[in-house]
């Protein structure tokens, strides 16, 4: 009994002592200079690239600061970060919010499906390689930078090479995508190919501005315009691909009329849909690539 009491006192006192020491006051400067990620593996063979999906909408007045963070990361990491702006659900629904927006409908069937499938419930929010960080798949804008840095530090598993040929006369795109494995792959790998457009000039609410907080000629970046091969893409392998395996997929696609070919980028990514009985939203992206249409 006395021994229990003695230990309890020691435990509580040491708890208080450690707690008192458990604070780190940070002095200015508060920022660190960004360091470009150390390249992993043989960069002549493959470079790890990361996909950031930013769920947004023209009626979401808290979204422009998130897009600015995406843009800052995009300029820091250049071609190693691929941003896709997904306009979906309530905050992008033009039928719910009419004048003065008169915004083009930037929603896409795939974007709507991603929004619902991944359980996005608030804007702005995003996913980095569709990978959980501390248990959360949906990340607030302030969590993007560290998630991107962590993903960039990983080894590449494959390389995606995109070769587009665009014919302006009939707005036809012939695309060849070659996936070369630099590590053994998986039969659960799927390739998704989509197009984004930068800029798309349309309305945007921004609550940092005085009421009614509307910017009628906002330049939306990396707007998801269409998925070329469906929401979840094409299966790449029927057997486990060994290191060095190359798979080529070809696509023929007519560019939608409302898209300006001068502003279009083609984005491709490979996601691995590993079977998981408890979590069927496992769609981790393992590599991404982006090229300009022209």
């Amino acid at each position: 009994m006395k021994i229990t009491r003695f230990y309890a006192v020691i435990l509580i006192l040491s708890g208080i002592f450690f707690s008192l020491n458990s604070c780190d006051v940070i002095e200015a400067p508060y920022t660190e200079s960004l360091v470009a990620p150390t390249d992993t593996g043989d960069t002549s063979v493959a470079v790890r690239k990361v996909l950031l999906e930013d769920f947004t909408g023209f009626y979401c007045g808290t979204c422009p600061p998130a897009s600015e963070i995406a843009a800052a990361l995009d300029s820091t990491y250049a071609d190693r970060l691929i941003v896709v702006g997904i306009h979906a659900n309530f905050f992008a629904d033009v039928s719910l919010h009419s004048a003065p927006y008169n915004s083009p409908d930037l929603r896409t069937p795939a974007g709507e499906e991603y929004y619902n499938f991944f359980g996005i419930s608030s804007n702005p929010s995003g996913m980095v390689n569709r990978k959980k960080v501390s248990g959360d798949l949906i990340l607030s804008k302030n969590a993007w930078a560290s998630a991107v840095a962590n993903e960039l530090a990983l080894q590449p598993e494959l390389k995606i090479k995109l070769q587009p040929q665009y014919s302006a006369n009939d707005r036809k795109l012939n695309l060849s995508a070659t996936i070369t494995y630099v590590k053994p792959g998986s039969i659960y790998d799927k390739l998704v190919v989509l197009i984004t457009e930068t800029p798309v000039t349309a309305a945007q609410k921004d609550y940092r501005l005085p009421s009614p907080s509307n910017i009628l000629d906002y330049k939306h970046k990396h707007v998801l315009r269409a998925n070329i091969n469906g929401t979840w893409g094409d299966i790449l392998n029927t057997t486990v691909p060994a290191t060095g395996t190359a798979v080529t997929k070809t696509f023929e696609y007519i560019l939608p009329a409302q898209v300006n070919p001068d502003n279009v980028h083609i984005v491709a990514f490979v996601h691995r849909q590993t079977p998981d009985s408890q979590s069927d939203i496992n769609r981790e992206v393992i590599q991404a690539e982006e090229v300009s249409l022209k």
């Binding site: 009491r5 435990l11 200015a28 608030s122 501390s134 959360d136 990340l139 302030n142 560290s146 609550y207």
Partner: protein
């Protein structure tokens, strides 16, 4: 993580652990030894959704959604253990979709040995008024920030209490990234000093400390790994008077909700109350500066809150006015509240034969008096000054009177101003001014049958315009109740949105079970917390709710 992956494993483990007790429980009939006690409760809410283009409901592909849980507790002497199984298939609209799935995110065991109480596993805890730590659950709101770890409570002397915790915090079916360490101590002076034991003055002192550890993975900012908050409090009472005060301070905690500013935070809370027979007076004041504290600095929405900052406004229960509830602004606010309740004695001029109760309440919340800075410290603020911007103001009066053994009325008037831009983190709406009058009339038809009617009118300047509502409720005690209602948004500036939101429900209470079935339309709303908005869509459909206690 294992909790999500193998919920069955945990159930089986629990059953295995309980088996010896259950076996002994069976033996007990013959030996009549103490077998302990098993108790618990169950609830399920089932919704069937219909598509209703008029009120703009979403299409729910699975048509039905369900939330459910079962609490199971076992106690025997100084030993206790328990668990809760939760199921969200899929979470009903308005609940955070991150709840989806089944699992056990609450299981604990503990015992009391002499002066020491030990808990391992999940637990709920509060230090003081909650300014540094409050872990609790509000199942119907989808809020649960249970802690999972170890807790010790120690009571070395009469009137001296210590608590220590080390834990992770629940976030849906997983845990927040941060590690939470904390301690709390309280001394009841009256019990410690023998001379004060019989005195009329009661006095207590307390203090608490909570620290969160989280790794810095941000490549841009230098983030504090250990963020600590501490608080001191006192309670002083003499006669009918009582004074409660608490002050908390938090070191730099750049986070998603404060836009990564490095200024420290603090909160002060003061309450003075007086009560005697028939009269109650309460005056409160609070000041909050940058006190949002979470188990993960990137968390947002109603998730992973370590501390609790009181709203200090009256929580209205009549339906229409619940459109405009106040939500504490953890980044900064100053507020006061006053409450007065007086019961006129029976047989006096105003009290009548059965007595009359009059209640006044006034609440006012303003911005801080602050000036923006250009660096990462965010802003400066003056302690003794109040900002100009009105966030919320509520004056309400309620008169409750029983006229005869059969008739009772409650008359309510509410004048409420709601700064929608601030409270919901938006602009373009400004200050919404409302005036609400409510008549609540109940008539006891017989010893078992009661009928109650509510008539509400809320005049609104701005937002969705004015509303009127009627409700009729019929109860056959102690088992049955049935209710119908209609909310009519007749003042909506948009003619096609002048809609009726009608509904009805019927319920049965029997043997500790309560079954409620309902049908109705529910209006849409946007809930914004800390600048992040969640849209809770309108719905139309059938609901079934079952609660059971054993």
């Amino acid at each position: 993580m294992k909790n999500i992956l193998f919920p069955c494993k945990h159930l089986c483990l629990l059953l295995l652990t309980l088996t010896p007790f259950l076996i002994q429980a069976q033996k007990s009939d013959s030996t009549r030894t103490d077998l302990g006690n098993i108790s618990g409760n169950f609830q399920t809410d089932f919704q069937y959704y219909r598509y209703d283009s008029l009120i703009g409901t979403p299409r729910v592909p699975e048509k039905t959604r369900m939330n459910g849980f079962l609490n199971l507790n076992y106690t025997r002497g100084k030993f206790r253990m328990g668990t809760r199984y939760e199921s969200y298939l899929n979470p009903i609209l308005g609940f955070d979709p991150r709840f989806v799935g089944n699992g056990i995110m609450y299981r604990y065991a503990g015992y009391t040995q002499g002066d020491l109480d030990i808990t391992v596993g999940h637990f709920y805890e509060q230090f003081g008024t909650g300014l540094t730590l409050r872990s609790y659950e509000e199942r119907n709101l989808g809020f649960d920030n249970a802690l999972d770890g170890v807790r010790l409570k120690y009571n070395p002397l009469p009137g001296v209490y210590f608590k220590g915790i080390v834990a992770k915090m629940r976030s849906f079916f997983t845990y927040g990234a941060g590690l939470i360490r904390g301690g709390d101590g309280e001394v009841l002076i009256n019990e410690v000093i023998p001379a004060w034991k019989e005195g009329k003055v009661r006095w207590s002192l307390g203090g608490s400390f909570v620290s969160r550890y989280q790794a810095d993975e941000d490549p841009i900012y230098k983030l504090p790994l250990n963020v600590a908050t501490g608080a001191g409090r006192t309670m002083f009472a003499v006669g009918g008077f009582s004074l409660l005060g608490e002050y908390a301070y938090k070191i730099n905690d750049p986070s998603a909700t404060n836009n990564l500013i490095y200024r420290p935070g603090d909160a002060a809370f003061l309450n003075l109350s007086y009560s005697q027979k028939g009269l109650g007076i309460s005056l409160s004041a609070k000041r909050i500066v940058n006190m949002d504290f979470r188990a993960d600095r990137t968390a947002f929405g109603n998730n992973l809150n370590i501390n609790f900052l009181p709203a200090l406004t009256k929580q209205h229960t009549y339906r229409l006015i619940t459109l405009y509830p106040y939500a504490t602004q953890p980044n900064g606010e100053v507020g006061i509240q006053g409450d007065l309740s007086y019961t006129f004695p029976k047989k006096s001029a105003l009290g009548g034969k059965y007595g009359t109760t009059l209640t006044f309440n006034y609440g006012l919340i303003h911005s801080l008096d602050s000036t923006l800075r250009t660096d990462e410290l965010g802003y400066d603020t003056k302690f003794a000054s109040i900002g100009e911007k009105l966030y919320f103001e509520d004056f309400n009066v309620e008169l409750s009177k029983k006229w005869s053994p059969k008739i009772k009325t409650i008359l309510t008037y509410i004048h409420l101003d709601y700064n929608k831009d601030v409270i919901e983190g938006r602009t373009g709406f400004g200050l919404i001014r409302t005036q609400t009058a409510i008549v609540d009339f109940s008539y006891k038809i017989s010893a078992k049958k009661n009928i109650r009617a509510e008539f509400q009118h809320m005049g609104v300047k701005g937002d969705m315009g004015s509303w009127a509502m009627g409700l009729l409720e019929y109860t056959i005690a102690p088992k049955w109740f049935v209710a119908v209602w209609d909310e009519y948004n007749y003042g909506n500036p948009d003619d096609i949105k002048k809609l009726h939101y009608y509904g009805g429900s019927v319920g049965l209470i029997k043997n500790g079970n309560r079954i409620t079935a309902g049908y109705g339309r529910q209006r849409a709303g946007i809930f914004c917390v800390g600048g992040v908005c969640r849209f809770v869509p309108a719905s139309n459909g059938f609901s079934l709710s079952v609660t059971s206690t054993f």
